[in-house]
């Protein structure tokens, strides 16, 4: 199943900044304007004094615009911390982190809120308001930018694109897990943010639904030329990525294309695809 996916990915326009020959090097980094995220020597620690625990060590990473990047690694490796730093949800104290050209290091809270408005978030639990219909949940995101006139149309267009045309006036209670996650994706994409951050978006979904959801996400983000950074443990969806970054113990372990990633994590003699999953 990976072969189909990777062939696909290689031909996509988002792949143009991908450098499989030299994945860990930043020497070929494109000019700044072409970078959605630029991280230099980022360190991060929780707590203070004796309780201080460093979780990220000297991370340097560039995400060009239009790439779909999967961030993977064992639990506790700092993936979630990294993504919440990129999402301007935590304060960067050491090193440099630029999102869409804006330096997040030591940024005031009010400015971080503004940065967040240009980022689409998708979560493991969909976090939809139970009291609102699918349409209203999506409209909440449009309202944030003050577009009250067009919000209804915008919500309907994106929900239709995600195949929820007949589910718009249902509350989350009346939606299946996949449909809820699609509403959450609609909410993240409706404002056409240049950057999407997704945390285990398929963790709660079955195989077929995850595939559907991820393919929709891939199609829409490609259309919008949007950068996607997705944390996942789900090997079934690795093929949608242009690039896979592996984070271990707070350090960048590898930065490759899906093909190389799968090969390097697979026993040569293994007959079962499933074996890969145990390793990752």
């Amino acid at each position: 199943m990976y072969l189909e996916g990777e062939g696909d990915a290689m031909t996509k326009p988002g792949n143009r900044f991908f450098a499989p020959e030299n994945p860990l090097s930043n020497s070929l980094a494109p000019i700044k304007d072409e970078l959605a995220v630029q991280i230099q020597h980022l360190n991060f620690a929780f707590g203070k004094g004796d309780l201080c625990k460093q979780v990220l060590f000297d991370i340097s990473l560039n995400l060009p615009k239009g790439q779909i990047v999967i961030l993977t690694g064992p639990s506790g490796s700092g993936k979630t911390t990294l993504i919440s730093l990129i999402g301007a949800l935590r304060t960067v104290r050491e090193g440099s982190l630029r999102v869409m050209g804006q330096e997040l290091a030591d940024m005031r809270n009010a400015d971080r809120v503004r940065v967040r408005q240009s980022i689409g978030f998708i979560f493991q639990s969909h976090n939809l308001f139970e009291s609102l219909t699918a349409r209203q949940n999506v409209e909440m995101a449009v309202e944030l930018l003050g577009r009250f006139k067009s919000k209804r149309d915008q919500a309907e267009v994106i929900l239709t694109q995600l195949g929820l045309a007949d589910r718009m006036d249902h509350k989350p209670q009346a939606l299946s897990g996949g449909q809820k996650q699609r509403v959450a994706i609609a909410r993240a994409l409706v404002n056409h943010p240049p950057l999407i951050l997704a945390d285990e978006p398929t963790a709660a979904l079955d195989k077929q639904t995850s595939r559907e959801v991820v393919t929709l996400m891939q199609t829409l983000t490609r259309e919008q030329n949007c950068t996607v950074l997705m944390v996942t443990h789900d090997n079934r969806i690795l093929d949608v990525a242009d690039r896979i970054i592996n984070l271990v113990d707070g350090q960048l372990e590898s930065d490759t294309n899906p093909d190389a990633f799968i090969n390097s994590h697979t026993y040569k003699n293994s007959k079962h695809d499933d074996a890969k999953m145990f390793i990752m």
């Binding site: 999402g87 949800l89 809120v113 408005q117 979560f123 976090n127 308001f129 609102l132 209203q136 945390d199």
Partner: protein, 382 residues
């Protein structure tokens, strides 16, 4: 197009909880209404007699606390007041308590007694306007009895004879007034009889001076002129001021004000806690959503407004049934007490309780909103 009414939809989403919340707010509002109603009614009964006095200005000693706790003042003050322009008539009113024996049980109780000159049109009650009433008042040892006196005083039949203040007394007629908080029953007698029953008291000192003004005069202005003209041993009050004077006495220097004030405070606190509990649960349940809103880029003021809107909506939704039930209970009270506790709704009270209810919900909103503000957007990635 308007904003998604998230506060409203959040409240509506949990029907059961909404119902409990509305019941809680309604109950608190109802308790406040009942306390204020009883307080108002008690105060009204104590000052009811002023409404039946045929005078615009009332003279009293500055040491007089209220109508049943008076300090007499010299009668000359009345004659001095009579000389002021605009005054049509001055009338002395004598008051005191008289021990009235129930002819059936032979138990004596204190009856509040008004002494009047039978020629003076002091009272407005229709029963006292007839020549027959005046004739009865002029008879020695004869009194008129208030039919709203408590039954413990015995029968109120006209012609009945009993003993009062160690003298034989006959009931010459009836009227309806009500004694209020200070008296279980009232009598009216002539000033001459008053002198007899309350000997050695003379008619040289009076308890209240009633002043009837010529029509078309300004009571407020004349009262001021009168106060300036008369010596300092006299307090000149318009009828409204006299009512306020008595009301202040009952509310501020007796336990009535405290008891019902306490009732209002307790209802307020209970209501606040109920609304707080509801809002807090609501916020805690929606915490992941609130964190998501903050992650998306909503700011704290939005959440602040959201919680306060919910509080405000709860206040309104609880107030309306509270008001309706209170109106029903007011009527029930009036019926059950045969009109002796005239509980009634006023616009001022309705508005006052509305503002208390909104404050109550606002306070709980402000306490619980901290939880929503504290929602950490970084918590969305777990």
């Amino acid at each position: 197009m308007r904003r998604v009414p998230l506060a409203w939809l959040n409240l509506l989403h949990e029907k059961t909880r909404l119902l409990i919340a509305i019941t809680g707010v309604a109950f608190a509002a109802l308790l406040i209404f009942m306390n204020l109603g009883f307080r108002g009614a008690l105060i009204q009964t104590t000052t009811m007699v002023y409404g039946q006095l045929n005078a615009e200005i009332i003279l009293m000693s500055p040491r007089t606390l209220q109508i049943s706790a008076t300090t007499p003042f010299p009668r000359e003050r009345l004659y001095q007041a009579a000389g002021i322009e605009g005054v049509e008539r001055v009338m002395p009113l004598y008051v005191s308590y008289l021990l009235w024996r129930n002819p059936e049980t032979r138990i004596s109780r204190a009856m509040f007694t008004y002494g009047v000159n039978p020629q003076d049109p002091i009272f407005l009650m229709p029963e006292l306007q007839s020549p027959e009433a005046t004739k009865q008042l002029e008879r020695p040892n004869t009194v008129l009895i208030d039919i709203r006196s408590r039954p413990e005083f015995g029968p109120q039949t006209i012609g009945l004879e009993t003993e009062a203040g160690r003298r034989r007394v006959e009931i010459g007629g009836q009227y309806s007034l009500g004694g209020g908080f200070a008296a279980d029953g009232t009598l009216i007698m002539s000033d001459q009889n008053f002198r007899r029953f309350f000997s050695p008291r003379t008619l040289e000192t009076v308890d209240l001076g009633l002043i009837k003004l010529a029509s078309g005069t300004d009571a407020q202005r004349i009262a001021q002129a009168m106060q300036a003209r008369l010596p300092a041993d006299i307090l000149v009050l318009t009828k409204e001021e006299a009512i306020a004077h008595d009301r202040t006495y009952w509310l501020q220097t007796t336990s009535i004000g405290f008891i019902f004030g306490m009732g209002v405070v307790v209802s307020f606190v209970v209501g606040t806690m109920i609304v707080y509990q509801i809002l807090f649960t609501d916020i805690r349940q929606h915490l992941p959503e609130y964190a998501t809103l903050k992650a998306m880029g909503y700011r704290n003021p939005y959440l602040f407004r959201l919680v306060l809107q919910e509080a405000f909506l709860l206040a309104l939704m609880g107030y309306v049934p509270g008001l309706i039930i209170a109106l029903g209970l007011y009527q029930l009270t009036v019926k059950a007490t045969a009109g002796s506790l005239p509980v009634s709704m006023s616009w001022e009270r309705a508005v006052f309780v509305l503002s208390l209810t909104v404050t109550m919900c606002g306070v709980s909103g402000l306490i619980s909103v901290r939880k929503a503000i504290a929602a950490d957007p970084a918590d969305v990635f777990r």
